[in-house]
């Protein structure tokens, strides 16, 4: 069912295609699948939002794409096709070259993601020189330019600052500048605004939006915040307990969520623009991925489950244009 993408015309193929990805972790002598046969596509220039709660496997998926899984984790199966090349089969050296040049990444915690003993200028210049045939002087000019682009005032002067001399918001801007320094085709942003205040978050989302248009790059934004999704994403994949529960363009997802988990997630988010007597909750908690429930992993918390839900893994079924949900009752729920 997978066409040989290497020979297919690249224009029609997605920029990034993750297929049947399974990532396992060894902990305490046991192996458990943190990500279980997950698949999604990202088209060139598109913003895919991956939303999920802690333990949903969303961050692990991003690390797998970057080839940065921790030592006790490994990709057990699947393909990660980037511009038609399977990243999992790429030699380490090629992968290193791809990282930072073609795929950029920004993390949640901008303090630990920057090296405290080098100036931010050094770190950006390092990235540029590493990936491109550019002299240090030219790389430094590019760094100044990038810092100015991400909205750092008096960029030339701040180049010699150390990370600790900057605020959290400024450091995240530096991270963005570094990630974009080589004009990547794809940016992976793992909870890029979670550690930041709401006014700074708004500034950064605006900035990311401007930059991705300017650079024409695709973005995968990983978040637990439905607001960030509503604000920023073109398409959404909802992760639950290591699997994709639902996948849809952003508006249908908010208008007609087909998976009971997505519905619960949307309903349990308090609204800024309306008063509710009581919040809707999803009972229970995320299952332990070391011993996941059989069948649908959401079944134990689901209000509409039937017997069949606990038997087999529900397949992703189409419920609309580009809208799929892993729920055997998704069809009937679309009311």
């Amino acid at each position: 069912m997978t066409p040989p993408l290497l020979s297919a015309p690249l224009l029609s193929a997605p920029l990034l295609s993750v297929r049947d990805l399974t990532v396992t972790f060894r902990a305490e002598g046991r192996t458990q699948a943190a990500v279980d046969r997950v698949g999604f596509d990202v088209a060139a220039g598109e913003v895919l939002g991956i939303v999920g709660e802690s333990g949903s496997g969303k961050s692990v998926t991003a690390l797998a794409v970057m080839g940065l899984l921790p030592a006790n984790g490994r990709v057990a199966s699947g393909e990660i096709l980037f511009e038609g090349t399977d990243l999992l089969r790429l030699p380490a050296r090629k992968m290193r070259d791809l990282r930072g040049r073609r795929i950029g990444m920004i993390f949640q915690e901008p303090m630990t993601s920057l090296n405290p003993v080098f100036t931010i200028g050094d770190q950006i210049v390092e990235t540029i020189v590493h990936h491109e045939r550019l002299g240090r002087r030219a790389a430094r000019e590019r760094a100044v330019d990038m810092l100015a682009r991400v909205g750092i005032p008096s960029a030339r002067r701040r180049l010699d600052d150390y990370p600790h001399q900057m605020s959290g918001g400024m450091r995240q801007r530096v991270m963005i500048a570094m990630a974009l320094a080589c004009s990547p085709r794809l940016l992976l942003a793992d909870e890029p605004t979670t550690a930041l205040d709401v006014t700074i978050q708004a500034q950064l989302l605006d900035l990311l939006n401007d930059l991705r248009r300017e650079f024409g790059m695709a973005v995968v934004v990983i978040t637990h915040n439905m607001g960030v999704i509503a604000e920023f994403a073109d398409r959404v994949a909802v992760f639950y307990a290591g699997r994709v529960a639902e996948e849809a363009p952003v508006e249908p997802l908010f208008d007609r969520p087909a998976h009971p988990y997505t519905r619960g997630l949307l309903a349990s988010t308090p609204r800024l623009d309306a008063d509710a007597e009581r919040l809707v909750t999803i009972p229970g908690a995320m299952p332990n991925i070391a011993a996941p429930p059989p069948g649908c992993r959401f079944a134990p918390r689901c209000g509409v489950k039937v017997e069949a839900c606990e038997a087999d893994r529900p397949p992703l079924v189409a419920v609309g244009d580009g809208h799929r949900a892993a729920c055997i009752r998704a069809g009937e729920a679309a009311a």
């Binding site: 972790f25 902990a27 305490e28 002598g29 046991r30 458990q32 943190a34 802690s54 333990g55 961050s59 692990v60 690390l63 940065l68 899984l69 921790p70 030592a71 006790n72 984790g73 993390f107 949640q108 630990t112 793992d190 909870e191 332990n288 991925i289 070391a290």
Partner: protein
């Protein structure tokens, strides 16, 4: 920074399978190796009165300077004393001194460290004193104290405690200062708990991991330093064999009878290596934060 930090929630996988510390310890190779090494040495030393072939001080002039052989596995010394007995009994004394130092460290290190870490007012003065003591090279300070007090087992214990208590106190102070800021300490305060309850119920139990790790290293250092002091003639009375004294005695015959220094030397090395492995294992399992990332 390790890749696990990048995973965002590195603790999650660990929390999914919360095995008891003992099981995790037994799965730690360093700890098990250390336990085997040190445990063997400790048991042999403990059993010395029953398993030594002879009294460690029994002289037998006709057996002087016997090389290691079937009859005398570790050879004999200049007075024909059986080195097996002397090393076993020497281990008793070395480990005893180490244990005393550890106990004094546990008591004074905890009291001083907790006082400095918890009561901000005491922190400055106590730590200045500790800094002053730690400014001397450890062995030099021990030599000075031992020389001043005259050679005896007590002297060695006191000298080594003076050297290592400030270090232990510093370790404890650091962890007390971390735990002091935890929310559960604030919660206890908000419930109306006094300093005593907060210290003994909430702070100290949560500082035990680094303390145990530190004490395992102190044990190792104490055994090493005891050897140095004894070697320099500042240790226990020469008739009582400790490993350090054995080495000191053997020094004069190092060309003719190398086994006299090699055997106690290997005993010390084995013990210290065992304790260090033990400490590393404990640290990895009990308190991974103390690990210095490569």
């Amino acid at each position: 920074m390790s890749a696990a930090d990048l995973a965002g929630r590195p603790g999650l996988l660990a929390r999914l399978t919360p095995g008891p510390a003992v099981r995790r310890l037994l799965r730690n190779r360093a700890f098990v190796a250390g336990l085997l090494l040190f445990g063997t040495v400790a048991i042999l030393a403990l059993l010395a009165p029953w398993i030594s072939p002879t009294d460690p001080n029994r002289m037998a002039v006709r057996f002087r300077f016997r090389e290691p052989s079937w009859d005398f596995p570790f050879g004999t010394d200049n007075l024909g004393r059986n080195m097996v007995s002397r090393v076993l009994w020497g281990g008793r004394l070395s480990l005893e001194i180490g244990l005393w130092v550890v106990m004094l460290n546990a008591v004074f290190g905890v009291v001083l460290g907790a006082a400095a870490g918890y009561f901000r007012r005491l922190d400055g003065p106590l730590m200045r004193i500790a800094d002053a003591l730690m400014a001397f090279p450890a062995v030099l300070l021990a030599i000075g104290i031992a020389a001043a007090l005259g050679p005896s087992v007590a002297t060695v214990v006191i000298a080594l405690s003076v050297v290592y208590v400030p270090r232990t106190a510093r370790v404890l102070r650091a962890s007390v200062m971390v735990v002091r800021e935890q929310d559960y300490v604030q919660a206890a305060r908000a419930a109306g708990a006094g300093d005593g309850r907060i210290l003994f119920r909430h702070i100290l139990p949560n500082c035990m991991a680094p303390l145990i790790v530190q004490l395992s290293f102190v044990f190792a250092y104490a055994i090493l330093s005891e050897a140095v002091l004894s070697f320099l003639g500042l240790g226990a009375a020469p008739t009582t064999p400790s490993w350090g004294i054995l080495i000191a005695e053997g020094r004069s015959y190092i060309r003719e009878a190398a086994w006299l220094t090699v055997v106690p030397g290997v005993a010390i090395a084995t013990t210290v290596l065992g304790l260090n492995l033990l400490g590393d294992g404990l640290r990895d399992v009990l308190d991974p934060r103390l690990k210095v990332d490569a």
